[in-house]
């Protein structure tokens, strides 16, 4: 009788489980889909790139009319930056100081029992003895005490020469160990640095690079990419759209928030033509900030004819003086 009861209960339970739909899995929060998108854009080679800008649906943005307030055209500009990829070079003083601190730490550290630590006759023991010999040679050549940084620099330069000479015994084990521990580091100065290729994104890896584009005109040709804000569009969307129109869709971008980082107000020279019916006296550009993670600019040869990725100092050579004065405070020194 208990088995029948058990079967009934089991059937009821099975029925109740079957009735519950798989609702829990469907509700994926928006932010997870956003991150999934950025994963996809980083890995996929041919997928169209999407930035983090949420575009207003096409139903709302019906007009392509430019936004004009008080006879001034509202324009969204973009400061696209490629952040540094490697650490900065150490200044001479920094290098000396770090060497000095290393020496101090070694002097003040607890005694190290090499006899106890290393296995007798091991490769590690031999390497340690070699390094000890180098260190002793270094300390003996220094004239003043070890706490003097000037002597540390001279002796560290000398030790590199003596180190190669001190290793007289190069047995088979040493050579094998040397080959095993050989790690090849890539050059910090790249090909693009040597060729001074301003269009390359592999140049000046320590510095922040900013994108400037060249317009097909004589004066004020180089500037940040910019374009008019349309009706029913906000600054971030306008900036993203303009950048895509002018520089192509082959850039993995991330816009830093919705807040503009700078602005530039200028009046037009006489005889400036606009499509709008209202006479336009001037323009107000609001700059938005963006990072580039992958990809490259593709000139459309209509609005822009050339581009360059330059540091803050190099921008002076391209951009007009007045523009640089307006724009320089937005940019990072390093």
């Amino acid at each position: 009788m208990s088995s029948i009861l058990r079967r009934q209960v089991f059937r009821a339970a099975a029925g109740s489980f079957a009735a519950v739909p798989r609702m829990q899995i469907q509700a994926i929060p928006a932010r997870l889909t956003l991150t999934a998108r950025s994963y996809a854009s980083a890995s996929a080679q041919e997928a169209p790139l999407k930035s983090n800008v949420s575009m207003t649906s096409s139903a709302v943005v019906s007009s392509t009319k430019n936004l004009i307030i008080d006879n001034t055209r509202i324009v969204a500009g973009v400061v696209v930056s490629r952040q540094p990829l490697i650490l900065r070079d150490l200044s001479p003083f920094e290098q000396e100081y770090f060497l000095y601190q290393k020496q101090l730490e070694r002097d003040n550290a607890a005694p190290f029992g090499a006899e106890f630590y290393f296995k007798k006759g091991s490769v590690a023991e031999r390497r340690w003895k070699q390094q000890e010999a180098e260190r002793n040679a270094r300390s003996s050549t220094s004239t003043s005490s070890s706490s003097s940084s000037s002597s540390a620099s001279a002796s560290s330069a000398a030790s590199k020469a003596t180190g190669s000479e001190a290793s007289e015994e190069l047995t088979e084990e040493d050579r094998v160990a040397a080959m095993e521990s050989k790690i090849e580091f890539n050059d910090r100065v790249t090909e693009a640095d040597r060729k001074n290729d301003v269009r390359s994104l592999e140049r000046a890896l320590q510095r922040t690079l900013y994108l400037i584009v060249k317009k097909p005109r004589e004066e004020h040709s180089w500037q940040f990419p910019q374009g008019g804000v349309r009706l029913c569009e906000n600054l971030q969307e306008a900036a993203s759209r303009e950048l895509q129109e002018e520089c192509g869709g082959n850039m993995d971008l991330w816009f830093v928030g919705r807040v503009p980082i700078g602005h530039h107000v200028y009046s037009h020279p006489k005889g400036f033509q606009t499509e709008a019916a209202v006479a336009v006296k001037g323009t107000k550009v609001f700059f938005m900030k963006a990072h580039i993670f992958a990809g490259q600019v593709q000139v459309d040869n209509k609005e822009i004819v050339d581009f360059a990725w330059v540091t803050k100092e190099e921008m002076k050579n391209y951009v007009s003086e007045d523009y640089y004065k307006v724009v320089e405070d937005m940019l990072s020194d390093f």
Binding site: L34, L87, S148, D197, R199, L201, H263, F293, A294
Partner: protein, 129 residues
Amino acid sequence: MRAGAKKGASTSLNGDVRNDLIKKVLFDAPPRPAIRLTPEDFERHETIERAWKLVRQQRKQEQEKGLARKFEMMRKANAELEATSPVLFKHSQSKERNAVFPRQLRTLTDTPPKQIWNYRQPTNATPKA
């Protein structure tokens, strides 16, 4: 039964004698003689330390100044935007609801990787190519 067991032999792992040796090397080693600096050496050391602190302070101040300039630019731009268009300003002050940091933000390394930059679509015509 271990004759002549050392003090604390019962605490060593499985009564292993090697652990006593390790403890002896670690804790019972004779202390190092204290470092004695001559007055000149001490002066040199102090000067080096002061110079380092000064350099770091200067660099930090420069960074702070740069940030202050950036913020001032941002503040002026936002003031201008507020005066120009309340709609655009309101949107700029609102935050994206589920904003996350981009995972592609790279940490700085000493040396660059083999493929430094992913140019993605190399077949497209660029002035570089």
